[in-house]
């Protein structure tokens, strides 16, 4: 098991007399000193607006920004830094693709295929593309355990132009057969978009091996700071796309009536950029690589296995989707008979345990399953087996608090 808690100052926080047990990592992760100090070092020693001035601070900030891009390229094994675009988050990346690719490349009669379990950012975006272009949004409805079935894959047909899916579902926590789905999309000439928000923090990523056309993820879910995301796109496709936002830094020549645009990746980075975020993401990548992505995956697997085993023994708890730890990352979504998730989260919070409650930004899935809201516990590198045991000990007390006898 990993032993990294000393790197995370927030984990010593005490709430209601209990040390915080932070199980809301699918929402956002905590930051180690290494990341916090990298941000402070930038602001204390190197802060300027990159790529603009001839003075030392602008140059230093620019170098740090460029180094961060190179770190991201290496981390996900992209061919070139021209394929790495910094954005605010996964949501913005998906908006960029839907606007600059979807709306300009799709037509009436075309199809977009996504799983019903997608996050709103990978769903509402495609609804709008369909409304604007006349294309049709088709869903993979998954089996009872949340798997993508052969019938689901068969929806990827000759009319399909875009297949977009999360490598790991933020509700099910299940790993998708990413390469297989991408291959199916390519077999019909469709573009494959992979949402890596819930996968990149937890396992090795190799975009060349996956061979997807776009890959997107968020920095804050992997120890980076808020509002730092990444859009990876194959160079040929990015070059063919219109810019998303217009303004400073993304231009080449601006005349009164027309403009030519900067080269990749700057074409997609309009305005002053989030250098703190890029520097934090770089520090986060270094931190995770030092631990080793395989070791991280193994650590979370042990936590998930113990938690699933324990939860199965507690009456009135229902886990949504597969309960096979081999198929999952450390995301466990569940319901408790007779207790609304919002009440469960409040009661667990009184024990210092932080979980997520609600629809997890996936309302169509909730509607499909007939579960309006659910609870979600999700783990990361600093969580321990002791914390899992503490959670399992407190979980039965939720129903008791709500007046149930068993």
């Amino acid at each position: 098991m990993l032993n990294v808690r000393r790197d995370f100052p927030i984990l010593t926080k005490v709430h209601n007399g209990h040390q915080i047990v932070y199980f809301d990592n699918a929402a956002t992760t905590q930051k180690p000193y290494q990341v916090i100090h990298a941000i402070v070092d930038l602001l204390e020693n190197h802060n300027g607006n990159p790529h603009r001035g001839a003075h030392v601070l602008s140059i230093e900030a620019g170098e740090l920004y460029d180094e961060a891009r190179e770190a991201v390229r290496r981390f996900i094994n992209a061919k070139s830094t021209q394929e790495i675009v910094f954005v605010r988050n996964t949501t913005e990346a998906l908006n960029l693709i839907s606007r600059s690719y979807g709306e300009t490349h799709l037509h009436k009669g075309d199809k977009i295929v996504i799983p019903i379990s997608e996050h709103h950012s990978n769903l509402v975006t495609w609804q709008r593309v369909c409304q604007k272009t006349g294309a049709e949004l088709d869903y993979m409805y998954l089996d009872a355990e949340g798997h993508i079935t052969e019938a689901d894959l068969a929806k990827i047909d000759d009319r399909t132009k875009i297949v977009s899916f999360a490598a790991v579902s933020n509700v099910y926590g299940m790993k998708r057969p990413v390469k297989e789905i991408v291959a199916r999309a390519h077999a019909v000439g469709a573009v494959a978009i992979v949402d890596g928000a819930q996968s990149v923090p937890h396992m090795k990523t190799d975009v060349q091996d996956i061979d997807c056309d776009f890959f997107v993820f968020s920095g804050h879910k992997m120890c980076g700071s808020a509002s730092t995301g990444v859009l990876y796109g194959k160079k040929a496709i990015l070059e063919d796309m219109e810019p998303f936002l217009l303004g400073g830094d993304m231009i080449e020549y601006v005349q009164e009536q027309s403009t030519t645009f900067n080269e990749l990746p700057f074409k997609f980075e309009a305005g002053s950029q989030n250098v703190e975020g890029a520097v934090a993401l770089h520090a986060a990548i270094d931190y995770l690589e030092d631990l080793g992505m395989d070791a991280i995956e193994e650590h979370e697997h042990e936590l998930t296995t113990r938690c699933l085993e324990g939860m199965k023994k507690i009456p009135h708890i229902h886990i949504i989707g597969s309960t096979d730890p081999a198929e999952k990352t450390g995301v466990i979504t569940f319901t408790i008979d007779g207790v609304h998730p919002h009440d469960a989260a409040t009661i667990l919070d009184s024990f210092g345990i932080a979980i997520r409650s609600g629809h997890h930004c996936a309302q169509p899935l909730g509607c499909h399953l007939g579960v309006e809201a659910s609870n979600r516990a999700s783990f990361y590198i600093y969580n321990t087996l002791d914390e899992v045991d503490y959670f399992l000990e407190k979980l039965p007390l939720v129903r008791k608090q709500m007046g149930f006898k068993d």
């Binding site: 609600g358 309006e372 809201a373």
Partner: protein
């Protein structure tokens, strides 16, 4: 709030379980939908208003114990009251949640709703407690116009 028994008091748990006010209304001339998108609390409030008096009221929907208990308590409170009186009580309840009125004597006429007083210590749950009351206020004020 440290003590969960204070939040999930017997009064709240009883009103959460109570189904007396939770049903569609046959004769309703006022209907309003209320929703907390972030947590999924979702209720539809119905009332039958005759000559400025709320003859009957009920709700349907789903949500956490706080939102459901609060809706049930509110309906108990406003049934049989005039529209003006109901609006005054809704405002008093909202003032209690905002801590603008804290005096228990003044709040006494809210009856069981006073059990939700301490929700103001829990920012994450305030929205649940006020959902039904905001929904009613909106419906009544629109109806008055």
């Amino acid at each position: 709030m440290e003590n969960m028994n204070e939040l999930y008091s017997d009064i709240i748990l009883e009103h959460n379980q109570c189904q007396e006010n939770k049903h569609p209304l046959d004769q309703a001339n006022l209907q309003e939908h209320g929703h907390n998108p972030s947590c999924g609390d979702d209720i539809t409030l119905q009332a039958d208003i005759q000559d400025g008096i709320i003859k009957d009221a009920a709700y349907t929907g789903h949500g956490c114990a706080i939102s459901q208990a609060s809706a049930d308590i509110m309906i108990d409170l406003i049934k049989g009251k005039s529209v003006e009186e109901a609006l005054r009580l809704v405002d008093l309840f909202l003032d209690m949640i905002k801590r603008e009125v804290t005096d228990d004597d003044e709040l006494e006429e809210l009856e069981d709703a006073i059990a939700l007083k301490n929700i103001s210590n829990m920012p994450a749950r305030v929205k649940c407690a006020v959902l039904a009351w905001h929904t009613l206020k909106e419906a009544l004020e629109r109806d008055q116009k």
